[in-house]
Amino acid sequence: MAPSLVLVGLGLAVWQWYVAANDVRPQVLPSPLRVVEQGWAFRAQIWANTVPTLQVTAVGFAVSLALAWALAVAVDFSPWLRRALTPLLVASQTLPIIAIAPLLIIWFGFGLFPKVVVIALVTFFPVAVGLIEGFAATERQASNLLRSMGASRWKEFRYVRLPGAMPYFFTALRIGITYAVTGAIFAEYVGAQAGLGIFMNLQKNSFRTDLVLAAVVVTALLSVALFALTYLVQRLVIPWYGAERRVTRG
């Protein structure tokens, strides 16, 4: 953590010096101090746009998680579904979101739904794949052991495949949640009533580069906070995972 703070500080200092030395106009490149100062001055407005973005992210990611879980479990129980759905999953990742998002606005309006679709399209894949591979990572010997105990496929899933997949799930969750914030911003950028995305778009149009950058900083902080939150949840849900790794490493 400390080395990255040093790097950021260094970068900011160079930036500040460059803007002051060359007398760059703030419409082109505001100094970091100006970004902070103006960001603070407009804090009420930025906050009013942060809340909707957080809401969209939360709803979109929740929907995406629910779909990813349902699909991953279904695929784990049915080899036929695995064969049928894997190509579709990959195909969903090749959709150019940048072209689809405006269409979604045309089809579904400025409400929540098109944004949820964008976030789901962006985050669904890593989470679903993480879960599917996590379930499938169960050792054959472990499956045999459960079968010899007389376990049904469902019990094998519940006692072995599901808990065994949790570390994979949390890795996928971390990738997904960072995409989710970016996805929300992007969806709002194309069109929304409120949110950091549309805020950035409007400020850009009125040449308030400083406020665009202030919103970018908030977005970054939001992503980092959500990322950190996944570690907290992981510690609560699978405390055994961290403990084991700490010991086997040391």
Binding site: E139, Q141, A142, S148, M149, A151, P163
Partner: protein, 254 residues
């Protein structure tokens, strides 16, 4: 003829090969085990020991032949057998006690009752005080004892042990063998052990079944007529050496 607990009767199995055709692995394997008897199966590596084990355990269906337990057909059935695989397969998300109780829980017993039943064996298995530990906190030998406890607590007619000490260092392995000999004397287990360790087979068994190379069938059966309980001192006795020699000769015969 004496009473028979487990009868393995003329098992045949061939794996389909990708290029077409089949790869015969079991070519009529037959042997039996009396109640309370400890029988080991040894054979050259790759001869199909593990396949035989999976068939007896009911995890794999033979092409032909039967497995009988107490005279009843148990081919392809898992219920009469408590199975201990090579790896301990203790799950890191469960405590040692919950790992030991897993099989009972799977069988439908309430968690509390399952834990109580498993807990009772922690003393004899040298695991007292480690009920709430996580598997990674245990030594290799303790993990193997916990895995055996999880197997034994199911209280099924026949114990199937697949190279249970194969992954341990030789000192720990010797400890585990003498421990198993001791604990076996206190419970009335019928055991089928698969191993590639001749000394282990001779030390623990009443009888040793020697398999030939693949496609395998029983090449020889040797009775280990050393008195029980045995101790490490017996390993150096001339009779023990004679048994080892007999087994080695049987293994080496082409």
């Amino acid at each position: 003829m004496a009473e028979t607990k487990l009868l393995v009767d003329d098992l045949h199995l061939a794996y389909p090969v990708e290029a077409g055709g089949t790869l015969p692995v079991l070519a009529g394997v037959s042997f039996d085990i009396a109640p309370g008897e400890f029988v080991s199966v040894i054979g050259p590596s790759g001869c199909g020991k593990s396949t035989l084990f999976d068939v007896v355990a009911g995890l794999l269906r033979p092409d032909a032949g039967r497995v009988l337990v107490d005279g009843e057909d148990a081919t392809g059935r898992t219920e009469p057998f408590a199975y201990m695989p090579q790896q301990d397969l203790l799950f890191p998300w469960r405590t040692v006690l919950d790992n030991a109780a897993l099989g009972l829980q799977v069988a439908g017993m309430r968690r509390r009752a399952a834990r109580e039943r498993a807990r009772a064996l922690f003393g004899p298995f040298g695991l007292a005080g480690f009920e709430d530990a996580r598997p990674f906190e245990l030594s290799g030998g303790m993990r193997q004892r916990a895995a055996l406890l999880r197997t034994v607590v199911l209280d099924r007619p026949v114990l199937l042990l697949d190279e249970p000490f194969g992954a341990l260092d030789s000192l720990t392995r010797t400890d585990m063998q003498t421990w198993l000999e001791d604990v076996r004397a206190r419970f009335d287990w019928t055991v089928l052990l698969i191993t590639h360790d001749i000394r282990e087979a001779a030390f623990l068994s009443d009888r040793v079944v020697v398999l030939g190379s693949r496609p395998t069938r029983v090449r020889r059966e040797a009775v280990v007529d050393l008195p029980r309980p045995r101790s490490l001192a017996d390993i150096t006795s001339p009779r023990f050496a004679a048994v080892e020699e007999e087994l080695l000769a049987a293994l080496r015969t082409p």
